[in-house]
Symmetry: C2
Subunit: 332 residues, 2 copies
């Protein structure tokens, strides 16, 4: 029986709990049993049960009281240590400045010899090398498909399917919010109008800085650079320009030349950058809406392009599911 500890129980954590239910038959057929959730923490409260928690009840409770259990904690790792688990699923809110609780939890789990699945970008962008070395040293798996591109399978595609390739570059759209705004600006909205609409639809946060200044896309560039290109770079190594300076005039001028403006993240031998770029209409990177897309240039396979939903409750949980199945396959 595989025991999961879920750290963070917002959109993605709850989505994962749902996905585990939706896929009961799949797990039963593949492993003859279900993975069980033995611990859940949010930012202040926790619930643990070595025999498995009722995650439906926890979702209901979270919706009502904003707590996941009666337990209150000051130190997350003490809660983690209080129950026997096999895999930490770290989906707490990301902190791209310090790595925050996520970094602490992932580090602790790996030190304890646990496998880790995370979509938490901060720890990966800041301490990729340390975390992968720690995982290796302790014989643990550290998987993070959902950290870049949500449900778009890019990390494991590069690590597994394209393992024999020399990947020369990746260019892509790694922030759906910016792409939504730019797509709306193509249709004549101003930046402010498009941003407001994105906020109303829940695509952009009240403070949109992280998205519109290109910081979120930059964390993904860092994760790809470290994991796919085996660099040792951090956030500050990325040259970042956001989309706040894009005017309707610039959009119109681009359109006059059959081009659109897209916020492109790029990793290649001599470039580590997030910046608005002119993209010809009809080019794969001219994609509209909240999709994410990546163009991978592989030396043998040639160009490979993939796109998918960059965010969403169930979509991001589906990326965690793919990592979970990979880890469970190795255990059964």
């Amino acid at each position: 029986m595989v025991k999961l500890f879920i750290s963070g129980f917002g959109t993605v954590g709850q989505g994962l709990a749902e996905v585990l239910k939706i896929r009961r038959d799949f797990f039963q057929e593949r492993y003859g049993e279900q993975p069980v959730v033995v611990g859940v923490i949010d930012s202040k409260t926790y619930a643990v049960n070595p025999d498995g928690l009722d995650t439906d009840a926890i979702i209901a409770r979270k919706m009502g009281t904003r707590t996941v259990g009666d337990g209150k904690y000051t130190d997350s790792v003490e809660v983690m240590d209080s129950v026997d688990y096999d895999i930490l699923i770290e989906v707490s809110p990301t902190d791209i400045k310090t790595g925050g609780t996520g970094l602490k939890n992932i580090t602790h789990a790996l030190e304890c010899g646990k496998d880790v699945i995370t979509v938490n970008k901060g720890p990966l962008a800041l301490k990729f090398q340390d975390l992968t070395e720690l995982a290796k040293k302790n014989g643990c798996k550290l998987r993070f498909e959902g950290s870049v591109g949500g449900a778009m399978p890019i990390i494991n595609l590069c690590h597994e399917n394209l393992i024999g390739e020399h990947i020369r570059s990746i260019r892509g759209i790694f922030n759906g919010t910016c792409n939504y705004i730019l797509s709306k600006m193509d249709k004549g909205q101003t930046f402010e109008q498009a941003l407001k609409e994105a906020q109303q639809l829940g695509y952009a946060e009240t403070d949109p800085t992280n998205d519109v200044e290109g910081y979120d896309a930059a964390t993904k560039v860092v994760i790809l650079a470290n994991s796919v290109f085996h660099r040792n770079v951090t956030f500050s190594d990325v040259k970042i320009t956001g989309i706040t300076g894009i005017t309707p005039d610039a959009i119109a001028q681009a359109a006059a030349h059959d081009m659109v403006i897209r916020l492109i993240g790029e990793i290649s031998d001599n470039r580590l950058e997030v910046a608005p770029r002119l993209i010809p209409v009809g080019h794969p990177l001219s994609i509209t809406g909240t999709l994410n897309i990546a163009q991978i240039d592989a030396d043998l396979a040639g160009p490979i392009t993939i796109n998918g939903r960059g965010a969403g409750r169930i979509e991001t949980a589906s990326a965690i599911l793919s990592d979970l199945v990979a880890i469970m396959d190795a255990r059964y």
Copy 2:
């Protein structure tokens, strides 16, 4: 030491031999040694050496004399039985009517407990169920990434990265030759002009029936239906319409509505079909040139689209490489 037997030494077989050379350092670093080719057969001749063959010399010989060795054979499986190998790489010319030598070789290798990598569509389209059951019974791996979409990673993407998904449908362009012809017709050429150009460039064969009548795309639809959708269908279950009836007038009428015509293969619960379809300009499936593309509709991840080179010496060999690494990883 992993010993390979290569059956078929045309474009793809030679491409694979080259790729094995190009990736010497990769194999050395990952496994501490190289896979060796202990046997090569073409349609009439063979070369075997338990200590490994000089594939450069065989390529040179093949270019000159159209033979791979001094040995002549009447029964391919006798040659296979004459040398100890671990993995059969079956890349002989495909026979979509009977499965031909490819089917015989794959079956024999699996019966002997060998792993098999193939890009040979005929055997997979005709006997998928039998072959996978035989592989399972004998504890062998049967991998075939390159059989659909060349270097576009679709099979292993669905089997591995998306293993936890329920895939509802796949729609895609699975024949680069037809797409090249239709792209040229978009630019004003007639079918005959475009076909002639495709033949001159080596995209289409002298007898283009297999491509332009949609048969080749249909074999890929069958392979996807059986392998990803767990159906038990064969070539004759696919409703097939090719592109020979597409007139410049039809193309012009489509263009007047901002549409293009593309040959789309589709697998869903109630459809197994290859047919020309109207696709809006700007839609991912409106892709031009020889690329292959697939739109996967997964119930949790949502829509995922991937494209890549559907053919080519090194590109197809790169798909074989990805299967080879997966098999070698499990052995080391």
